[in-house]
């Protein structure tokens, strides 16, 4: 298992697209270091050939009839938009 000191909060925050203040970075580094140190316990477990459980109760092949039905109108879908015009979401310009 990786060393807990490997956690670089500032770098992970960039991966997560999440601005942190300097104070938050420092605090989380310490707090999450403690949490990861505690989680090192998992290293003791003999997981051998245990198949991982992604879900609590495995169920497979869930299908429903593919039938059209009414859903949100465009206006309803836009109703919480931070910015909108002419039935469209307006976003900051991202291309030069």
């Amino acid at each position: 298992m990786a060393k807990t000191s490997d956690l670089d909060v500032a770098y992970v925050a960039k991966l997560a697209r999440l601005n942190l203040t300097g104070k938050e970075t420092e605090l989380f580094q310490k707090q999450l270091g403690d949490v990861l140190k505690y989680a090192e316990k998992l290293r003791e477990v003999d997981v051998g050939n245990v198949e991982e459980a992604a879900h609590a109760l495995p169920i497979f092949n869930v299908f429903r009839k593919d039938e059209p039905h009414d859903w949100l109108t465009a206006q309803q879908a836009l109703s919480n938009a931070p910015q909108q015009a002419k039935g469209l979401f307006i976003v900051p310009k991202v291309v030069e």
């Binding site: 505690y38 245990v50 459980a53 109760l57």
Partner: protein, 496 residues
């Protein structure tokens, strides 16, 4: 009955009055509104109320429906069309739900009236409701203490008679723990028993919606309305839904209960230990057989839970990008700045902490060591429960090792806060059902603080744990206790 007495009723008693036409749904809602206006300024259970549309609904509701005319409070993580759904986050401060979650559609079909949204830890991340971006919620038994969390608003509302019953959500204990700390019944259904459609996702493989109620029967009545398959949630189970009230007959003969020996560890508050031991003896006197069982991977449950739940949360919360809804940062320099500042300004500290942890355990080079291994340990934890529950009908333990703690007491130490989830996390990892039922009180600083008993049952065995909890509840009467919440009117009288 005088209207001011109505809010203290159980759902079952309220229904009897409604069906005999002794009160109207309108009387009931207005009485509840008066109670909330009176006591909620001191408790802070609600984030929003919509009495105007709820009053319109009382005009046309059929009181003979299973929950006809019963107002139900809803945790602010569940979408109710036309009402705010903030998840107690600045990120969604102005969000108005454009549709009903499936559980709301089902509650309405059963005649219930969702009239208000309750406070919670932001995005359901926390055990004290202190992570709400908007307000703390105070424990009605002692206003200097937390009501538990994350469904703390729902718990405080019900025990303070500001709601007849409520919906919460439980990802690692968020229904059972506040039910325990507030003196209520709280049921976490088996994974897949209740639809998650329209419930803002925290950890999709763990989340379940369930009831917080004054009695086991009330919890069963709410379960009857909300359980069942949903074509809009592919993880919902198709198994038929039984009538959860059918087995509430007080009979415990032939019932076998298992005490997990790994749960009898140090760090349990002596008062909690005393009350739970007394409860076990009491169940025995009612005819239940008590045996010791083993859950060998208990000590790994909290680590496993926090790795899996934060991994799933970091992916689920990626949707909050400031584009289609929610908070958006002003004047971004570029796209990265738009995302990073929107999320940095919109999320609170605990949510950020969990996104960082979740992103880390999923990142290249660490995935196998943390996430994959946690999923393997999860399989072993599930196996422990399957084996133990082959021998007994239900497992029995404290819901939480401690009593309600003081506001601000734990916020500086996240690990300590996480470790208190020891008895509740594993049920979510295993997908089984669990219930917390009041089993006594501790006297601390002149306040009575509630203690909860947890029963864990096999997947889809809700009817069984409800039956056991009901037999216990009816023969003890702990559920009849109410906190000393004085109305403003009473306070004014006392001053005169």
């Amino acid at each position: 009955m005088s209207p001011s007495k109505l809010p203290a009723l159980t759902i079952a008693d309220l229904q009897a009055l409604l069906r005999r036409r002794e009160v109207s749904p309108r009387d009931v809602l207005q009485a509840l509104q008066a109670r909330i206006d009176d006591v909620d300024p001191k408790i802070g259970a609600y984030l929003s109320r919509d009495f105007e549309s709820a009053l319109r609904e009382t005009e046309k509701v059929d009181v003979d429906l299973p929950l006809g005319g019963v107002p139900i409070a809803i945790k602010d993580i569940i979408n109710v069309a036309g009402q705010p759904c903030t998840c107690a986050s600045k990120m969604l401060a102005n969000y108005i739900a454009p549709y009903d979650a499936t559980v709301i559609r089902k509650l309405r079909a059963a005649g219930a009236i969702p009239f208000g949204k309750t406070n919670m830890d932001e995005f359901a991340m926390g055990s004290s409701t202190e992570n709400s971006s908007f307000q703390p919620t105070r424990n009605p038994w002692d206003s200097s203490r937390v009501p538990g969390g994350s469904s703390g608003g729902s718990a405080a509302a019900v025990i303070a008679d500001e709601a007849f019953g409520a919906l919460g959500s439980d990802t690692g204990g968020s229904i059972r723990q506040p039910a325990s700390l507030s003196g209520l019944v709280g049921l976490k259904p088996s994974y897949g028993r209740v639809s998650r459609f329209g419930v803002t996702a925290f950890a999709s493989s763990l989340d379940q919606v369930g009831p917080l109620a004054k009695t086991v029967r009330d919890a069963a009545l709410i379960m009857n309305a909300i359980a069942g398959p949903d074509s809009q949630d592919s993880t919902s189970l198709r198994n038929p839904v039984p009538d959860y009230t059918a087995g509430l007959n007080g009979n415990l003969r032939g019932v076998r209960l298992g005490v997990p020996k790994e749960y009898l560890i140090g760090g349990i508050d002596p008062e909690v230990k005393r009350a739970v031991n007394a409860a076990i003896e009491h169940l025995q006197s009612l005819g239940a057989e008590i045996v010791f069982v083993s859950l060998p991977h208990t000590e790994y449950a909290v680590s496993t839970y926090y790795i899996i739940s934060t991994a799933e949360a970091s992916a689920n919360l990626a949707r909050f990008d400031g584009v289609r809804y929610g908070y958006r940062a002003k004047n971004p320099k570029d796209l990265f700045d738009h995302y990073a500042r929107t999320r940095g300004e919109g999320f609170g500290a605990e949510v950020k902490r969990r996104i960082i942890l979740g992103t880390y355990v999923l990142s290249s080079g660490y995935y196998d060591a943390y996430y994959l291994r946690a999923q393997q340990v999860r399989a072993l934890i599930r196996q422990d429960f399957t084996k133990a529950l082959e021998k007994v009908d239900a497992l029995i333990s404290p819901t939480t090792p401690e009593l309600a703690f003081k506001l601000g007491e734990r916020t500086a130490d996240p690990l300590k806060m996480y470790l208190a989830d020891i008895y509740t996390n594993a049920a979510n990892l295993a997908g089984i059902c669990g219930i917390s039922v009041p089993c006594g009180f501790a006297e601390v600083d002149g306040h009575r603080l509630p203690i909860g008993l947890q029963l864990l049952g096999k997947a889809l065995d809700e009817a069984r744990i409800l039956q056991i909890a009901h037999a216990y509840e009816q023969s003890t009467g702990w559920h009849k206790a109410r906190p000393p919440v004085t109305s403003q009117e009473e306070t004014a009288k006392q001053k005169q």
